[in-house]
């Protein structure tokens, strides 16, 4: 009996040691311009000193999947290792003319639109490979967007743990409550990736979610 308890104790320790060294794939998904890269940059900068990608006011700035490996998040003395995967924003339509509003040349706008469509396809392909997903939504926008519902529906169907982030809470129009009402079955954390607001609660939720993965 004592020997068995002793064995189980060591087994648990070894299992936990092995488990803690596993790099979890943490994906950032959501519509364009919600702040996926800003949030991923904030986390990467906090724990590695480097950013993952460029951000811009022009939608579809991220047009290929970007990675940052071995990002060890240290929260209240607990550490977890992640592979951060920042994905291009998912949309159902992309019109190059929308980019012209940002004073972009027609030729460049067309190239951007073409690359953006390829980025959406790439994002969707990566859905299968995630361990944990953070859905980044713009808290100033209407959350009842079919893209949001489709992404979440897919993650649920694949049994991938989901955390919803209501980004841009620093803006006056932002409403975390609207997003909570739209997705009552999920944890919603209101943050500002730009100013690093409420990231403590975000890290706590990520650790909780990572245990489910």
């Amino acid at each position: 009996m004592v020997v068995k308890a002793f064995k189980n104790f060591f087994k648990r320790i070894f299992f936990n040691l092995f488990k803690s060294k596993k790099e979890l794939k943490l994906g950032f998904y959501g519509p364009p311009n919600a702040g996926k890269t800003s949030l991923a940059n904030r986390i990467c900068k906090d724990f590695t000193g480097e950013e993952i990608g460029a951000v811009s006011k022009i939608p579809h700035e991220t047009r290929t999947v970007q990675f940052k490996e071995k990002v060890e998040i240290d929260y209240k003395g607990k550490k977890m290792l992640f592979k951060m995967i920042d994905t291009p924003g998912i949309a159902t339509k992309i019109d190059y003319e929308d980019f012209l509003k940002y004073r972009m040349k027609k030729k460049d706008a067309k190239i951007r639109a073409k690359e953006a469509t390829q980025g959406v396809v790439e994002s969707i392909k990566w859905l299968d490979d995630m361990d944990v997903v953070v859905i980044v939504l713009d808290a100033t926008e209407n959350p009842y967007n079919q893209v949001n519902l489709t992404i979440i529906g897919n993650l649920v169907a694949r049994n991938i743990p989901v955390l919803i982030v209501a980004n841009k809470v620093d803006l006056r129009k932002a409403s975390t409550k609207k997003i909570e009402e739209a997705f009552p079955e999920y944890d919603v954390i209101g943050i500002s990736a730009k100013y690093g607001k409420n990231l403590e609660e975000f890290y706590e939720s990520i650790f909780k979610l990572a245990k489910e993965a």
């Binding site: 159902t92 390829q118 969707i124 209407n142 079919q146 529906g153 897919n154 649920v156 169907a157 739209a182």
Partner: protein, 133 residues
């Protein structure tokens, strides 16, 4: 069929597709049928809804088509389902009915080409289809 005169829409057609039309199809056939209807400049009202992975494939295939069909700028998509805020037993009942019927027939999927449909605005209480003028 929608006709455009000097960039303005003269008219458009709405097509209703009963779920029975796609029930026996595999995912590829369903998506192909839906995209063909939308590429013909129709706004499609589909009885029921696609599976979650079919919805993402529809988005993915839409993006691929945009690379091949000139002037196709994507789609506007919305699924209206009456059971979004049901409790556990409500969901169980709906799932059981869906399993027997072969799909969620209480839902309606609206898909239209982005050149005609500007936005499908939805909130919990209403849905608005905004067309390009």
């Amino acid at each position: 069929m929608v006709k455009k005169i000097r960039g303005k829409i003269k008219g458009f057609s709405i097509q209703f597709l009963p779920y029975s039309e796609i029930r026996g199809m595999d995912s590829n056939q369903r998506i192909k049928k839906i995209l063909n209807i939308v590429l013909d400049n129709n706004i499609l009202f589909l009885q029921g809804r696609l599976e979650p992975d079919e919805e993402t494939r529809l988005i993915g295939d839409t993006m691929v088509m945009m690379g091949h069909v000139k002037s196709f700028k994507g789609v506007e998509l919305a699924v209206i389902s009456g059971n979004e805020k049901e409790g556990f037993f409500g969901k169980f009942r709906t799932n059981l009915v869906s399993a027997i019927a072969g799909g969620d027939l209480g839902a309606v999927t609206i898909i239209g080409p982005a050149t005609i449909v500007k936005e499908i605005k939805r909130n919990p209480k209403k849905i608005e289809l905004l067309l390009k003028g």
